[in-house]
């Protein structure tokens, strides 16, 4: 793979320069985290729910082939057409063929991260299908030709003024609108005719129930319901890891999802699809796209438990101060940093470093994925696979040599102290020293520990480290 690694640090630097955006982004996400905490404190059974959710997911993943077959059998019995796609290209081809068979050219869709993975929109547009995102945030991102920057709130990095500018271009509204209510109303008015004129609808799927052949879609706007009930053709794109065995398991997950995501008890709409509506046709496309391979990665398979709530993103200090787009990937934040490298190890080799390893992501994860441990383990894998940036690699290399030879190490420390106090800034602060880019180098000390030790220890008694050898 020849793609260059995403330069997350540089993109983040860019993001940090814009103070109003940075401040809003940081505060908005932290507010979501605090609302999540408030919900957690209301429920004494919170930790039990997390444990339950984790165990159900791990069980399901260990029996995924059987549950997928069970789902398929039940869904077919209820009149759902079930398709399987190995990767994004196959998924797009399947969706394209279904639409072609119906002569459909106007597709309305609700948010689906899997279709982002598959890069479906450009594929269908080339085929002459107009694709309209119906989720407000996702629509803003579509009009601005950007990836979603957050999996739950796709346009969270934008301010009202940004949205006003985008809508002015496409909806002919006043670019100076500063009231979000007016902009949301503009979206409603613009979307209605498109929804009413659509000949096909698409949704994702948050949960899939093997026992009944049901899939569940959660939204706040009700846009998935509009996408699925107005046109008579409904296609649902779903990752194969979304299964749960029993209807009753949904109780655990629905109670956790929106509380973890936004700090609201439940999404306004929780919709259960078990078969086509009267006179309609329903298709489910089950997408692998790297998931079956990930299941075989001993250290990383539990990332498949993810229910896409975004809690890890909201709590992450690096994410909050770098923005989702800086990750240059479909999935951003801590969860993105551990699953993106499974899609493209070289391109996303920098992402596991976008973390302080503080573990907050792991603590808030409703399905108990050990995210920060996986971040650490990815770093190890990437080093073993030589996917490490040049400067970092060389520095580690030199540090390894230095620390392996005490005399050399001490000489280097002395030299560093001397140079820190004598060298001009341009020598000390340049591209070879990324640490010094945002920080001052440490103050030089008058005496190293070793010097102090030699001076204060009486030689001969216990001996200096040298004498011990």
């Amino acid at each position: 793979m020849s793609e260059r690694p995403v330069n997350h640090a540089r993109a983040a630097e860019h993001f940090l320069e814009d103070k109003p955006h940075l401040q809003f982004h940081d505060e908005r996400l932290w507010d979501m985290r605090q609302k999540r905490d408030a919900q957690m404190h209301i429920l004494p059974e919170w930790q039990e729910l997390r444990e339950e959710a984790s165990r159900i997911k791990e069980h399901t993943l260990s029996r995924l082939p059987e549950y997928l077959e069970q789902f398929e059998e039940n869904a077919k019995k209820n009149g759902i057409h079930v398709h399987w796609a190995r990767d994004g290209a196959e998924h797009n081809r399947i969706v394209g063929e279904i639409l072609k068979a119906h002569g459909a050219h106007n597709l309305i869709k609700s948010k689906s991260m899997v279709t982002e993975e598959c890069d479906m929109r450009p594929y269908l547009e080339k085929q002459g299908v107009r694709v309209t995102e119906t989720d407000l945030g996702e629509r803003i991102q579509q009009l601005d030709d950007q990836l979603p920057s957050h999996i739950v709130v796709p346009a969270v990095h934008k301010l009202t003024s940004d949205v006003a500018k985008i809508f002015a271009k496409d909806y002919n509204t006043d670019p100076n609108i500063r009231d979000p209510h007016l902009l949301a109303e503009a979206q409603r008015q613009a979307a209605r005719p498109v929804i009413l004129g659509a000949d096909s609808g698409m949704t994702g799927g948050n949960f899939v129930v093997a026992e009944t052949g049901t899939f569940v879609v959660c939204t706040n706007e009700g846009n998935a319901d509009l996408s699925a009930t107005v046109p008579n053709l409904h296609i649902a794109t779903i990752g194969i890891e979304r299964l749960v065995p029993r209807m009753a398991d949904l109780g655990v997950f629905v109670r956790l999802l929106s509380r973890s995501a936004l700090g609201s008890p439940i999404t306004q709409y929780t919709t259960h699809f078990r078969g086509p509506q009267k006179g309609g046709e329903m298709h489910v496309v089950l997408v692998d796209n790297g998931r079956s391979a990930r299941l075989g990665m001993e250290d990383f398979w539990t990332s498949l438990k993810c229910i896409r709530c975004g809690a890890c993103m909201n709590t992450c200090p690096v994410y909050r101060r770098s923005g989702g787009l800086s990750y240059g990937a479909v999935y951003s934040g801590p969860i993105g940093a551990i699953i993106d490298p499974t899609f493209n190890e070289r391109k996303y080799s920098t992402l596991p470093y976008a973390s302080t390893l503080n573990g907050s992501c792991t603590n808030v994860c409703p399905v108990k994925i050990n995210i920060h441990e996986q971040l650490y383990k990815w770093r190890r894998v990437l080093v073993q696979h030589h996917e490490m940036p040049f400067v970092k690699r060389e520095i580690m290399h030199m540090a390894g040599k230095l620390m392996g030879q005490p005399k050399l190490y001490r000489a280097a420390i002395k030299a560093t102290e001397v140079s820190l106090s004598t060298m001009p800034r341009f020598v000390l602060y340049n591209w070879l020293n990324p640490w010094g880019r945002h920080r001052e180098n440490p103050h030089p000390v008058k005496q190293t520990f070793n010097d102090w030790y030699r001076k204060n220890r009486k030689p001969g008694k216990e001996g200096t480290p040298e004498a011990k050898k």
Partner: protein
């Protein structure tokens, strides 16, 4: 090999040892209060409201007209309200877009969330629940279940409906600068009338 078989084969080869991950028994956790008071409190958190007779003897039709004075087209799918448009006029999914106030009955509600359930059994057409500007939902207080666990375990509708939606208050969004807006793409308001 077909995509299906290839994916299933890869999953069989790669999965963790199933014996190490037994299925936990079904969980029933949390508050078991299925009262009307709890339901109403939860409903209000999510932006829904109750509709009650303002004076003894006020009919449902009168109460709807009072709450939605500007509504021109009121379409009822329940015998308790007459509305202004016979529900038989709604024949295609798009027809529902002209409605100002939709009136339906929910077979049950969930106290924990203030959610009401609707399926094709309560709707002339599924879009009926979403395209109208406002919705009024009739609900019997004896059809409340405590929480999501009891709902999924006890309500047969989840296993029989092709389309089943839990609506918890009206449509909402906070996608523009975090400002909460009720009435995004679906209904602008949701009122529950207890019977």
């Amino acid at each position: 090999m077909s995509a299906r078989d290839e994916i299933l084969q890869a999953l069989r080869a790669n999965r963790p040892t199933p014996e190490n991950h037994p299925l936990p028994p079904v969980a029933t956790l949390g508050d078991m209060d299925a009262s009307r008071e709890r339901f109403i409190a939860s409903l209000k958190i999510l932006g829904g409201d109750v509709l009650e007779p303002a004076t003894p003897g006020e009919t449902l039709d009168e109460a709807i007209a009072r709450r939605h004075p500007d509504a021109k087209i009121i379409c009822s799918n329940v015998p308790e309200a007459r509305g202004t448009l016979p529900v038989e006029k709604i024949r295609t999914p798009q027809d529902a877009a002209m409605i100002d106030v939709t009136v339906v009955r929910a077979p049950f509600g969930i106290a924990e969330m203030g959610s009401i359930f609707l399926s094709e059994a309560q709707l002339p057409i599924n879009s009926f629940a979403h395209l109208g500007q406002h919705i009024v939902v009739l609900l019997s207080a004896s059809e409340l279940t405590a929480n999501m666990h009891t709902a999924y375990q006890q309500r047969p509708e989840f296993r029989s409906a092709n389309y089943g939606v839990l609506m918890s208050g009206p449509s909402a969004t906070a996608d523009i600068q975090g400002v909460l807006i009720r009435g995004a793409q679906g209904v602008r308001s949701l009122s529950v009338w207890f019977t």
